[in-house]
């Protein structure tokens, strides 16, 4: 049986040379993403804004304007109405009820339910959620904290296990991944809710995973080929790990595609975010984070190349050590 090979053996793409273009493209896309978030804003769900969300199933595709009119007549605030999942389902979001306690919010759910059931016979709720202002502030804070600590924690881990340059380049690449994902949410108008925080953390975890594998190979090759130029080591390492990088990404994307197409509408934003995040994460692993190591001044003999050490002794020692231990690449 002939086995499948997505990436041919012995690729030798000069990724480091492409880094000028890659950095430009990355920067441009990041700026576009920031602009999109700034201009279009994010479609925040009730988890983060507080208020209530009712997802209503109708027996036939409902006229959105008629639903809006029905809800508006109840005088419970401006309703944001959006179609979710099938054409028969609408999500209706209402702001926190002014100066009222939870009893009033419950009453609003009942009022909207009753009004819709009367106007559109057969309409029932498929789910609803109410979130108080205090809780939504907490969720926002905790979500932000979770993302922040994930980035910092993993960056620290990379610094402890590798060199500081690895930590920095990884964190930069992750910030890029997150900006892209945020830009996607601004563009697509998918609702940003608690699930999306989980998606973000997963993207971070996955993207790091990808970078650590390449970093690990760079470190290994730095020890093996002491005399090799840094850009060659990086090119070699990225090329050597390329089959794995592509293979893993394709596998996860296959699994996510199944979830995206068949997993139902509740998870659609979540899976879409992960799908995009993995594509972006793979790109940044190959083009951004490793090449950034050169820009950050990673040199061979990392143990003696810490910033602040005397440059002259470093060169001498590395030459001696390299001369003794150099091994040719086995073919």
């Amino acid at each position: 049986m002939k086995l499948l090979k997505i990436v041919p053996d012995h690729t030798n793409i000069d990724f480091v040379r492409l880094r000028g273009i890659a950095f430009g493209l990355t920067l441009a896309l990041s700026l576009i993403a920031i602009a999109l978030v700034g201009i279009r804003g994010l479609n925040m769900g009730v988890d983060f804004t507080g208020g209530l969300m009712i997802e209503e199933s109708f027996t036939s595709p409902p006229p959105v304007e008629a639903v809006r009119a029905t809800v508006d007549r109840l005088g419970v605030g401006d309703a944001a109405i959006q179609q979710v999942g099938s054409a028969n389902t609408l999500s209706i979001r209402l702001p926190i009820q002014q100066g009222a306690d939870e009893g009033a919010t419950n009453a609003v759910v009942r009022k909207v339910e009753a009004a819709l059931a009367q106007r559109f016979p057969g309409a029932t709720f498929s789910r609803y959620a109410t979130v108080g202002g205090k809780v939504s502030d907490e969720l926002k804070w905790k979500g932000g904290m979770a993302v922040f600590f994930a980035v910092v924690g993993i960056g620290l881990f990379a610094i402890v296990r590798f060199e500081w340059q690895f930590g920095v380049s990884t964190v930069v690449a992750i910030i890029h991944d997150m900006l892209m994902t945020l830009g996607f949410f601004a563009l697509s108008g998918f609702e940003v809710d608690l699930n999306i925080i989980a998606a973000f953390l997963t993207i971070i975890g996955y993207s790091i995973n990808d970078k650590i594998v390449i970093d690990d190979r760079i470190r290994e090759n730095m020890r093996r080929y002491r005399k090799m130029e840094m850009r060659e080591i990086i090119n070699l390492s990225v090329n050597e790990t390329l089959p794995r990088t592509v293979m893993t990404s394709v596998t996860i994307l296959l699994a996510l595609a199944a979830l995206l197409l068949l997993g139902g509408h509740v998870l659609r934003g979540f899976t879409a975010a992960m799908f995009l995040g993995i594509v972006v994460g793979t790109y940044s692993s190959i083009y951004v984070s490793s090449s950034l190591l050169i820009t950050l001044g990673l040199r061979a003999e990392p143990d003696r190349a810490r910033p602040g050490t005397n440059d002259k002794t470093r060169v001498d020692k590395s030459q001696i050590a390299g001369a003794e231990r150099i091994t040719p690449r086995e073919r």
Binding site: M1, L3, L4, D9, E55, S57, E102, N106, T124, F125, S126, R127, A129, T130, V131, L139, K142, M145, A146, F149, A150, G153, I154, F157, A158, R161, L194, N195, I197, A198, L201, T202, G205, Y206, I208, N209, I212, V213, D216, R217, T241, P243, R244, M247, T248, V250, T251, I252, L254, A255, A257, A258, L259, L262, G263, G264, V266, L267, M274, R331
Partner: protein, 530 residues
Amino acid sequence: MLDFPRWKVASIVTVLAVLCLLAFPSFLPERYTNRLPHLPKINLGLDLAGGSYLLLEADTADLANSRLEAMRDQVQTEMRRATPRIAIGDISARGGQLTFMLRDPSQVDAAREKLLGITGGGAGLTGQRQWDIQVVDSSRFVVRQTEAGLNQAIDQAMGDATEVVRRRIDELGTREPTIVRQGASRILVQVPGLQNPQQLKDLLGKTAKLEFKLVDDNANPADVARGIAPAGSQVLAYPGYPGGRIAVKRSAIVSGDQLTDARQANDPQSNAPIVNFTFDTQGGKRFARVTQENTGKLFAIILDNAVVSAPRINTPILGGSGYIEGNFTTESANELAIALRSGKLPVNLKVIEESTVGPDLGVDSIHAGVLACTVAVLLVVAFMFLTYGRFGAYANLAVVINVLVILTVMAVLGSSLTLPGIAGFVLTIGTAVDANVLINERIREERRRGRSVVQAVELGYKEASRTIFEANVTHGISGIIMLVLGSGPVKGFAVVLLIGILSSVFTAVTFTRMLVALWIRRARPQTIHI
């Protein structure tokens, strides 16, 4: 690496076989597993099973207030009872503290002694003072509750409240509710498969503080209408009564704590819904004595500080039981009966977050999730097999076992499978496969460098293991952060992710290495197809 002693093979196979077999009850329909309640079976989260999630928060300010008011009443009574009597002016209970003047400044020491007794002396069981007593200007007392005292009171109230909430939810006859205290003043309630969440909320929103007090018939109706009560009495709302207010004596004859039972019933004459109740022995005796002494007068039945009804005592009530009538529907009477049976909440609870999923959406989500997972596994399995042949097949076996192991571990730990959890499964499949991709690509590489089969396999596993370890640690870091800081769906996702990380290292590395080793030892291949 080919050295896999027999005992090692046997123990790996046994552990995995047991873990996989234990996953099966989770796939069986409920009618079979109901007969085997001891087998671990995975719980479905609310988003899959349908049901309600409520986050309740205690009104701690209200608790502090009522604690202060109780202390005021106690101080008044005790000062009056003291010998010689300690005369004090009006006690104000404002700004979180009690303030009162002594009429005779020479009684300062006696008053302080008395106060120390009431407030539990210098130190309670925990060694911390509950109340702070200060004397200002030689005759003015300021009594403040300490932070520690209030926190202890809140803690105790929350413990009791959690029990009351549990009893009330149990009365609704729902299966497997989750009721846990969260933080200092919150209770998290999850009730799967509930058809009518409104009923649950109404029930939990009731404090159900029941009191029986005598009506103060000496009160001036004009004063009562303005909300002014004679000394020793208080004005309460009484919907349906002329003026909407009524004056009652401050001290209760009997309270709801002294009930042993309460049931919804119908009035034999009017057929209107009522609530029958039974006092405990002590409460019954007390009620009998007071009604004997006050025959012909009115007494008020007070629920949550509002009068429900104020019937006349026609004959002494000696049997230790009675009924409450009011403007009830069958449902509201039943709710009241449940609330009375389960005891009063020591503190008001408010719903600050709620999420309810209808049963239909839950069923749709399960179907979609199972379908998506099956397709995802099939796609990944086919892709792996096409890419790595025999080694892909080993990896696939590891992935399937991994899924079963995660299910078992979740069932044993009692964590619920949620929709984000299903997404976590899909992602875990991806990362588990990644470990094998790393190993297999490394073997390919080593073969290209001209190493022998055994050497290549050995080096492939050895070199890749380090990378896999590092990758999983970083993944684990984000998983732990999600578990600690995340709430609701994020937690559900993190649980699957973390279990998956642990089990996938075992299945994807150790287990496949064993399979490869056994194969190489048996077949002694000169070349491998990878």
